[in-house]
């Protein structure tokens, strides 16, 4: 079994940024494992612009953003294997990988989980009805169009107002497809406000809130869907059914960190993020296994994925050099109005960057970090919505004793 200092699982934005930062930290014995035939991850199919505004101060397309990192990886000669799927990860940080040449195994000092996230599928949403062709997740439709030059649709209904769904509404419209409407089960849109403007409003595509799909019709190909209004408990209201004919239903109803490998290895997951429970070093419940990017918690912007992975790499590099990472015994719990936080554990001895999402829509609010009754961190927000990730630094000097922290909206 070959030994490696660092094995990075996933060659998307998180994995690439982690690899480069490890390299800059002096770690040379690195291997990136990517299951697709190219590096770049989901950015390869995200041809719209708006990436890199934070990091590069310009509005790049996904492939351009990824290429900046890939060029650096190639410049420094950081080893990577594409077309290589990790089949197994163990608690002892042993990795089994399969590719066209066969099976190989590695023993890593540090494993970086950078597998990204997956889309909620029809099965996961539990939509009743027949099972014709023509029901795609937004990302699948995006791959067909932007990578494989295949047009999957003519008459489209979109379920869910996630960003990828709205971006696909625009993309399909530009290519001459008719997008009838977007239906969202929640009473508020789930994607970013700017996408509602530039992807829906600009093309006169209506968005119906508090509506969902309650029937799928068609034999070999989708012929139509039933749409119902939902009540406050998100239950369909009988009598509100309407039929829409369409040949394609696109699902954009949420992203879930892809942690199958992590779970099999025994990494503890957070039920709120559905990613690993990590400390301020981005270390999971298994020593030497680190996680960052969308596999840890779903981000809104790739710029933050890159930043988080670089922060991870600095910690992982210290671990590989044999330095002891400060023990993290203080737990952080999401309180009123907060959906989740990352990290979930801190030492209290070092400033840390707190990431969170709120669970509702708020105006002129404050995000408070409390230890007992004492407020030890705060951020004022003009508005806070679930679609946007919120980040700020919490100072160690305010943290005293062994009591856990709670984050809430006020």
């Amino acid at each position: 079994m070959e030994q490696k200092d660092a094995v990075i699982i996933g060659g998307g934005p998180a994995g690439l940024a982690a690899a480069l930062e490890l390299y800059h930290q002096g770690i040379r014995d690195i291997l990136i494992l990517e299951r697709e035939d190219h590096l770049g991850g989901i950015l390869r199919q995200c041809i719209h612009d708006g990436f890199g505004l934070g990091r590069f101060k310009e509005s790049l397309s996904g492939p351009e953003y990824a290429q900046i990192f890939i060029d650096e990886i190639e410049k420094y000669g950081i080893p990577f294997q594409t077309g290589s799927t990790v089949m197994d990860l163990t608690e002892e940080r042993q990795i089994t990988v399969i590719n066209r040449k066969g099976v190989s195994r590695y023993q890593a000092k540090a494993v970086i989980l950078a597998m990204g996230c997956k889309e909620r599928s029809r099965g996961a949403l539990g939509i009743p009805g027949e099972r014709p062709a023509g029901v795609f997740t937004a990302g699948t439709a995006q791959a067909y169009m932007n990578l494989y030059n295949r047009m999957p649709a003519r008459e489209v209904i979109i379920l869910g107002s996630g960003d990828i769904g709205m971006i696909m509404a625009r993309r399909l419209t530009l290519e001459g497809v008719h997008v009838q409407a977007v239906f969202e089960i929640m009473s508020h849109p789930s994607g970013l406000p700017r996408n509602m403007i530039q992807c829906l409003e600009d093309y006169n595509i209506p968005l119906y809130l508090s509506h969902t799909v309650t029937g799928i019709h068609g034999d070999s190909r989708l012929t139509g869907v039933t749409i119902s209004e939902v009540d406050e408990q998100l239950k369909p209201i009988p009598g509100t059914e309407k039929e829409y004919s369409c040949d394609t239903l696109i699902l954009s109803a949420g992203l879930i960190p892809d942690n199958q490998l992590s779970e099999e290895a025994g990494v503890a997951l957070d039920p709120h993020t559905r990613g690993a429970v990590v400390d301020e070093h981005f270390q999971t419940s298994i020593p030497g296994v680190f996680a960052a990017g969308n596999v840890l918690h779903v981000h809104d912007l790739v710029d933050f994925v890159s930043m988080e992975s670089e922060a991870l790499a600095a910690e992982a590099a210290a671990y590989i050099r044999g330095e002891k990472l400060t023990a993290c015994d203080l737990e952080i719990m999401p309180g009123k109005g907060v959906g989740h936080t990352v990290p979930q554990k801190v030492s209290g001895k070092k400033d840390f960057r707190l990431s969170l999402r709120v669970s509702g829509h708020y105006k002129d609010c404050r995000i408070l970090v409390r230890q007992g009754t004492k407020v030890i961190g705060r951020k004022k927000m003009k508005k806070a919505i679930p679609a946007e990730m919120i980040q700020f630094t919490v100072k160690a000097e305010e943290i005293k004793g062994k009591e856990g922290l709670e984050v809430c909206v006020e």
Binding site: D37, H38, L39, I47, H48, D49, G50, L53, S59, L60, S61, P63, E64, Q67, I70, E74, T82, M145, N146, L147, Y148, N149, R171, L174, E175, L192, P193, R194, M196, I197, Q198, D202, D300, L301, K382, K383, E388
Partner: protein, 126 residues
Amino acid sequence: MKKTCICIICPNGCEIETEVKEDGTLSLTGNTCDKGADYVRQELTAPVRTISTSVHVKGGVLPLASVRLTRPVPKEMIFPVMEQIRKISLTAPVQSGTVILRKVCGLDSDVVATRTVRAVNESQSL
């Protein structure tokens, strides 16, 4: 006249309250940067957008190269611009960053490739 605009320049998506007074002057609140003010002025008079799409590539390892506009164009020109881009067919290799159509539809915006597509017979490192 009062209107609320959501700025699309960056993901902050600032809600900007605008008011055009009777004398034609514009007052703004809610923008967190100058770009937001510029966006609103443009949006209220002559809205512009950038678009991204892809073009066919012959003999490449991928069938498509993604492209985008270098500058935003008037909103009503989006579909005429798409029409022009659709006529383009490239032959691999295609280098990301290459301008493939200058001043599309006579506008002050170029179509630029955003993906490198190697030719099938080129040695592949990726």
